[in-house]
Point group: C2
């Protein structure tokens, strides 16, 4: 039952250490189905735990021994202990979202043990409004963040009457049932996992950093292409981190952001980035830590096959990364939105002029900073190429259910790494955009204030744009 | 604010790894004071959190840097974040002791981060009978298990009306207020921490294993003294462990054990060891893993200064360790109790004939197996010198309160290490003896069954002795 671990997964396993656990998380909020009693949390837990057959992905664990010549391989966990992986938890009084975020922060801080398959799921009861939460955690060596979200979404249904629905780790779960959101632009969620993984594979080949990435980055240093700006200022986010996490989450109506976009001729993604830029400005000002130069965010974007000049693979799409200046140096919210819009347009333009290999190198930079960053240092590039990562991933557009329980919120928990202590990831769902803000608890103090600042920014952008 | 770390504490820090966290824990159960409302859990949490000044022990963290020439030192945590250390948790429905033990197991499995002071306290609500639990966790580099218990006990009072009582980490807590249990024999709890620490210090001096320990052990191998038996059989407990823990706890009336002792002419400690021997026999038989030779437990005991031939230090006492054969090869419970009694008498006799240095070496073996075990291997001693550790520590004899909340149970969580996957520690309190059984979740499967077996053994011993 030994199977090889691909180079990218190996790299994620080896990059991991106490202060940098390499798992992605998801927090989902469910409303109980009609007629459910006060034991619904336990019932949900038991139906998620008592599956007949666990899918192979959730049974394998990394293993290294003399018999594998010191190589990391996947082996099946022959003592699989479902109680270790699926847990029933509860919130203390008064059971607010605050207590839920506290518990999620804590759960996200602990590292997955290699002796066992690299995942956990926690069914959490005790919210005062009776909702039930599900926190899931999967090692990046198994799935990347987007695939993890898609995996969870693939078990949902728009039909509130559907029952006998398996959880994500059930062998019955069919991966192809994933809801594919339709969108005008090619979206990140549509990129097949394999494309991302192979893009990463290239960047992490045994020999180390491929020439393409170094060349691309070097070009960025010379500012020949604005899609890579290595002129990111130093900030408190770009330091060594500890293993402790703080997670904050909230959602906003997509319609509000759309109105701002329409009034200003910008995209929703531009509005999201401007919200983040404004919130980061307010946050850093409070700490008296705002640099003069604008912060730069790495923004992963989906590319159509044609734009990417890539030979058509599955679905013919690829991922690129744009370095976006967030306008944190500008006082006026409208100015910030314009700056973000210009920076994104500029970046996409530059991407379209890049060679396929350069794009792949950019993908690697976007998807695997934990692996790439040390390589950059080896190549003598020492300044942070960007200050934070902001991703925006489309999710299902309609209301979804799991065995009659209505999904009412979905928030991602990403991976802070050394030199990149703060991550913002958004998922759209059912007319709302859920923000998941994750950071090192020590390096990013009072991170939860970013939620207030984001909220203030929406209002400020509405006012400025007359939306 | 840099202070040196003594060699023993350093050794505990360096011995630690992912599968062997080096912290001791305690689980205490409290009944709410009369008139307390449903928010009592939160009130208790807030009063434990909101202290004016944290005691220095709880503010220091280990640090190693170029400026300390790579040496580990204590530094004060200048960003001390009380919310990281004191947590409010809750149990899911139905809030039985089982859910509490599950949560405690999980909390005890995660390692303390070196970036912060090495302790945590969790106030746990949600027990269906309304009781509130307190789980505390302190690194062995700060205090040993017995001192940790004593520290917690030192904040309690026999007066149910007393209020304004500080928690253990409050700078106002006076260490000398610890209740000193009186006992006919010198008890472990009476040995000053410093004596234990210096005994350990000797064993872990920079040069490595001192000759005394090797000589003592070698003598044991030759069976010249029965207080060290290196003829412990191999068992499932004596393997490499993982980082995941299972904790089980229960208490029994001391009077029942006393009656058995009186009827058979044995001590309570003998009865406890016979209970453990019988329970381990039942447990291993179920797994078809009982070795032919009897299991050997390392049993720490207190020695009077005179017996120990030691120059009188603080209180004039010392710790020794007796290797006790648990009679797991014997079918009859009465035979097991006799075998245990004989083995203990034999071991104490042997201890009294040892030189002070040999006794100190034994103390080290008893108190710091994680540090000593690798040294033994270096000296070519490869078989486990014993199979498990069983400690019995006297606690307060009368009912104790913390700000009016009645302490109704107190259970210790010890440290499993590689080669020693199971630990049993008992504390007496208010007429009952609380057993804390801790093991590696993977190496010691279905550990909680030991509770049932312990209970069956009490009944079997009662029947056999006519008590």
């Amino acid at each position: 039952m030994v199977s090889p671990i691909d180079p990218t997964a190996t790299a994620f396993l080896l990059a991991e250490n106490r202060s940098m656990p390499m798992h992605v998380g998801g927090l989902q909020l469910f409303e109980k189905p009609e007629g459910a009693g006060r034991n619904y949390g336990r019932e949900m837990y038991e139906s998620m735990r008592d599956v007949e057959e666990i899918a192979p992905l959730f049974l394998k664990r990394p293993h290294r021994s003399l018999s594998t010549a010191g190589q990391l391989v996947w082996v099946e966990d022959e003592q699989f202990d479902v109680d270790h992986h699926i847990r029933h938890s509860a919130l203390p009084q008064p059971g607010r979202i605050r207590e839920l975020l506290d518990l999620s922060s804590r759960l996200h801080s602990t590292r997955l043990a290699w002796e066992r398959p690299l995942w956990e799921a926690h069914i959490i009861e005790g919210l005062r409004d009776g909702r039930v939460a599900l926190y899931t955690k999967v090692h990046h060596a198994l799935v990347d963040g987007i695939s993890a979200m898609r995996l969870v979404q693939s078990t949902l249904s728009p039909d509130s009457d559907q029952r006998e629905m398996p959880p994500p780790w059930d062998a019955r779960t069919r991966r192809d049932r994933a809801p594919r959101p339709t969108s005008d632009e090619t979206s990140l969620a549509e990129i097949p996992t394999q494309v991302m993984r192979s893009a990463l594979g290239i960047a992490t080949e045994a020999a180390g950093l491929p020439g393409a990435l170094v060349k691309t980055i070097t070009k960025g240093v010379k500012n020949e292409t604005s899609s890579i700006s290595l002129y990111a200022p130093r900030t408190i986010f770009n330091q060594k981190i500890t293993g402790s996490r703080r997670f904050a989450a909230q959602d906003w109506e997509i319609e509000r952001l759309q109105r701002i976009g329409k009034a200003t001729g910008t995209t929703i993604n531009d509005v999201v980035l401007a919200m983040c830029g404004g919130a980061l400005r307010r946050y850093l000002l409070e700490l008296d830590a705002l640099p003069e130069a604008p912060l730069v965010a790495m923004v992963p974007i989906g590319l159509k096959a044609k734009e990417s000049h890539l030979p058509s693979t599955e679905g013919g799409n690829a991922i690129g990364a744009v370095m976006c200046r967030l306008g944190t140096d500008l006082h006026d919210p409208a100015d910030r939105l314009s700056a973000v819009h210009a920076s994104m347009a500029d970046g996409k333009e530059a991407l379209s002029g890049m060679t396929p290999t350069q794009i792949m190198a950019m993908s690697a930079l976007g998807q695997a900073p934990a692996i790439i960053a040390p390589m950059l240092r080896m190549s003598g590039i020492v300044r942070p190429p960007y200050n934070t990562i902001i991703s925006n991933v489309p999710g299902p557009r309609t209301t979804q259910y799991w065995n009659g329980a209505k999904l009412v919120g979905h928030y991602p928990l990403s991976i802070p790494i050394n030199g990149m202590a703060l991550n913002i990831t958004c998922i759209s769902y059912d007319g709302r955009l859920g923000f998941g803000v994750i950071g090192c608890r020590r390096t990013v103090p009072r991170l939860q204030r970013l939620l207030t600042h984001l909220d203030d920014e929406v209002a400020a952008l509405e006012k400025a744009s007359g939306a």
